[in-house]
């Protein structure tokens, strides 16, 4: 977005894509502002992706850098896979928001600030030594100093509202300004406000007034010389909705249970950033969902195992620290061979780490994090909306293969959102239950399907199938307790083989690119958007670079080796110290597998990745 200041007349410019970032105190309503802007843009026909960036503290002291909450959205007339690297427009509601978000603003872009908040006390609280509006800090930006607080106050005069409520409407003023700047209609947000404040008409009126006041203010001031048009994208035809990763995960689980004709049981303990899955599922108990907020992470997974054993779809949702606590119980599900879905919404670690920030460092715990030989299926979603597809797939694999399945998402996917052409249940793949069979009148709980090696799901309450299972080693076929050395080895190998045969039931990898054989970029999970955008931009510039993205971590897709062997260099990019690269190196020794890693609690930037790839192409 290149701005040419034309004094006097307002012009309209067309843009392919634009990145907008809203930043304010965590109580300023920035998440709401951002999501309203996104929704209006989606209705207009833009493709888009969003990313909220909020503090771990619910309400850190007002005006401090720690308490700043941000929301970034990229909209485009082209396909958008990420929320964008740097903001073309940054809205900063106070000095602290400016201080912590200036790093995300593009030089030459617009910064809209609430001038009223830039008083000495706030400037000092934010950690500025001098006033950034006066000391040259913002020389590289087009700064719009808008008296947002005072104009909101003036616009709401005469309404029966206290000062706190008035000040809470200033986010709508800022949103109104953005609507003018990007030539958007106020209609959808007005409808939203009316709905939200149905019971308090004064608040509805106040918010609408602030929204309109912002719009007209932006239209009038000279500091905003041009407005921008981002035309609708060429999006596939169909009916769309907005979806966040956590909601998609919750709905994918419901869909799978409904497809199976079973109830969904969620045992969960609150933990950031996974709690929203618990919240969402708790709203849908009429759809055959039981949610239990357990006394701890261990009870959460154990109750899910109990529910699965008794014939429901048992699921537990958590993040890294909770997954660590669930390890022993996941091992029980491995041994007892019952279906279990474990959702790990990854966050920065170790220990409590960075609860609200994203990371991809739980591959090791998911694949290896249990005592002894304890194989589980591990899959990973790669966009907010395909959390639905992979949650569904997690249930399908767990039930069809009688195994725990760990679904990895992350804070970035969980809270990010995008438009989604949602499916119909009838179009989703069927899920087959392995029904128990008797042999000569006897039921053998550890008899297996010859193809998948899965045992049957024999449910308590069924006449004639009474049997005992448990965590002690099982005798092959009968399932009785056995300490026999040969049997133990056979069972360990059988459980491993069962999980590796899942590879026969998952899609193969697809290479994005011409297959030049020079540089293969490899990603997995939530980094898909950034990697795809970077590779595609370089491919457009005729660089010899290809891309594969993994959604299946254990087992790996069957054609992995075949693809890898073609390339001089394989560059595995991940938000950790190289856990997936290590796994790949151990499976495919002798190949030139390199790593690019970032561990900052933030996603990859496209500019950053392109630079890395260009350097690799030079060698």
């Amino acid at each position: 977005m290149d701005d040419t200041l034309v004094n006097g007349t307002k012009t309209t410019k067309e843009l392919e894509k634009v990145v907008i970032r809203f930043a304010g105190d965590s109580g300023d309503g920035m998440q709401l502002t951002g999501s309203q802007f996104s929704f209006t843009s989606a209705l207009w026909g833009n493709d888009l992706a969003t990313f909220p960036d909020f503090p771990a503290e619910i309400r850190a002291p007002q005006g401090t850098v720690e308490g700043v909450s941000g929301f970034q959205v990229q909209i485009g007339k082209i396909d958008i896979y990420t929320p964008g690297d740097q903001a073309d427009v940054l809205v900063a509601m106070n000095p602290a928001a400016l201080k912590s978000n200036l790093q995300f603003a593009r030089k030459g872009g617009n910064i809209i600030i609430d001038m009223d908040a830039f008083v000495e006390r706030n400037i000092e609280k934010a950690g500025f030594k001098t006033n950034p509006l006066e000391d040259g800090t913002l020389n590289d930006y087009n700064v719009v100093e808008a008296p947002i607080s005072s104009l909101t106050k003036a616009a709401l005069e005469g309404l029966q509202l206290d000062n706190k409520s008035i000040m809470r409407s200033k986010n709508m003023f800022a949103l109104g300004m953005m609507y003018w700047l990007f030539d958007r209609s106020l209609k959808e947000t007005e409808k939203y406000i009316e709905d939200k404040f149905r019971k308090t008409p004064a608040l509805a009126e106040g918010n609408k007034r602030a929204l309109n006041a912002g719009y007209h203010y932006a239209e009038t001031i000279e500091a905003l010389p041009a407005r921008y048009k981002v035309p609708p994208a060429a999006i596939e035809k169909g009916v769309y909705r907005h979806i966040s990763g956590n909601t998609a995960t919750a709905w994918g689980l419901i869909a799978a249970a409904e497809k199976l004709g079973k109830q969904l049981f969620l045992g969960s303990y609150p933990i950031t950033p996974a709690s929203d899955i618990l919240h969402e599922l708790s709203r849908h108990k009429n759809l055959g969902v039981i949610t239990m907020q357990a006394e701890d992470e261990i009870a959460a997974v154990c109750s899910a195992i109990g529910a699965s054993y008794a014939g429901q779809v048992g699921v537990t949702t958590s993040s890294g620290p909770g997954i660590a606590l669930k390890g022993e119980a996941i091992g029980l599900a491995v041994m007892a061979e019952v279906p279990l879905v474990v959702v790990d919404v990854q966050r920065g670690g170790p220990s409590t780490g960075l609860p609200t920030k994203t990371e991809q460092a739980d591959i090791n715990i998911a694949v290896y994090g249990r005592n002894s030989e304890s194989p589980a299926v591990v899959i990973a979603a790669s966009t907010p909306s395909n959390c639905f597809e992979f949650a569904y797939q997690a249930v399908k694999l767990a039930v069809e293969h009688m195994t725990p399945v760990i679904l990895l998402t992350d804070g970035y996917l969980a809270n990010g959102s995008e438009p989604w052409k949602y499916p119909k249940l009838a179009d989703l793949p069927p899920i087959k239950v392995n029904e128990p069979q008797k042999t000569n009148g006897t039921y053998y709980p550890y008899a297996r399907d010859p193809e998948t090696l899965a045992r049957a799901w024999a449910l308590p309450g069924t006449t004639g199938l009474e049997h005992r299972i448990g965590g002690l080693e099982k005798q092959d076929i009968t399932g009785n307790v056995s300490y026999d050395p040969q049997n133990h080895e056979k069972m360990v190998r059988t459980r491993a083989e069962k999980v590796s045969r899942v590879a026969n039931y998952i899609p193969e990898l697809e290479v994005i690119g011409k297959g030049d054989g020079k540089l293969l970029v490899v990603g997995w999970g939530g980094t898909y958007g950034g990697l795809l955008t970077s590779v595609k931009e370089l491919q457009l510039a005729n660089k010899k670079i290809d891309f594969v993205h993994f959604n299946y971590i254990n087992p790996l897709p069957k054609n992995t080796r075949q693809i890898f062997e073609k390339y001089d260099k394989i560059l595995v990019c991940e938000l950790n110290m190289g856990q997936f690269a290590s796994l790949l190196r151990s499976r495919f020794p002798g190949l030139n597998i390199l790593s690019y890693n970032k561990i900052q609690g933030q996603p990859f930037l496209v500019t950053e990745l392109k630079e890395v790839f260009i350097n690799h192409l030079k060698d």
Binding site: L43, A255, L287, M292, A299, G306, A307, L425, P460, E466
Partner: protein
Amino acid sequence: MENTVDIPQHKPLTKKDFESDQLVRWCPGCGDYSILSAMTNALPQLNIPRENVVFISGIGCAARFPYYMNTYGFHTIHGRGPAVATGVKLANPKLSVWEIQGDGDAMAIGGNHFIHALRRNIDINIILFNNEIYGLTKGQYSPTSPTGLVTKSTPYGSIERPFHAAELVIGAQGTFYARTIDTNPKLMAEIFVHAAKHVGTSLVEVLQNCVIFNDDAHAAVTARENRDDFQLHVKHGQPLLFGKDNKKGIRLNGLKLEVVTLGENGVTENDILVHDAHTEDPTLHLMLARLGPPHFPVALGVIREVRAKTYDEAIAEEREKISKNARYHSVDDLLKSGETWEIK
């Protein structure tokens, strides 16, 4: 609400029907054998189809129990039995769910699940085998071991204070607490039947002897010479009498219980406290449960039995209520709920 369970029609089952083909591997003389026998005696009396009976356990000697029952069974991990049992019951409320725990399993590693199962009042039956020792790991002190007990991990005697199961049950708002002893199979079977009929979490504490690592831990109560003076068999609505010829009784004196003898100092049966297991207020239940040697007998029988809404009932009620006004009836409804738009 009445304390009844649905009794389905089924061909009568026998003790044999509940015995599995697995070799029972507890130590010779272990109290667990008589508990197993009492259980296989009790279950046919309940008229519950065998396929609807599930035994869940954690880890420990007691936790091997499910392997010896010819029902559904799941031997899980240490301390987590109540959590697994909760999932089983919620998944299929028709099942009769029994959860077997030892004192270490229930009150040390699994303390959290133990109290929360009781707090939720999920309709399961927990049988607590209390031998005041860790047997399977070969003799360390447990959370119920008395202070001073010499074990492998307390060579100079335990310096910790023990838990009393009843206090945890009542502290967690438990609705059913009964106590029995492994030397009285008839009483055990009676109490198991009673526990099964209680709707809500039933907690049965069995004073069980570990013949190898803590022999005679309960001898002050169970030994033949102590039976009369140190066993108080409580029954709802009956006076608290004990001793040879039922000449001794428990009297409430101010805020304390005391032992009195009928005929001495003008004491008559009218002075003896009548047991009320059904009163909501747990104060007297707690006082009774705390009695014990050397000055008091140990109360055996159903000490507390009150009806409160169970977790499984509350879930079913909530679902019915929500479903009445639900806007969505399928995942397809949900997918198209809220704002959607069409790209043409």
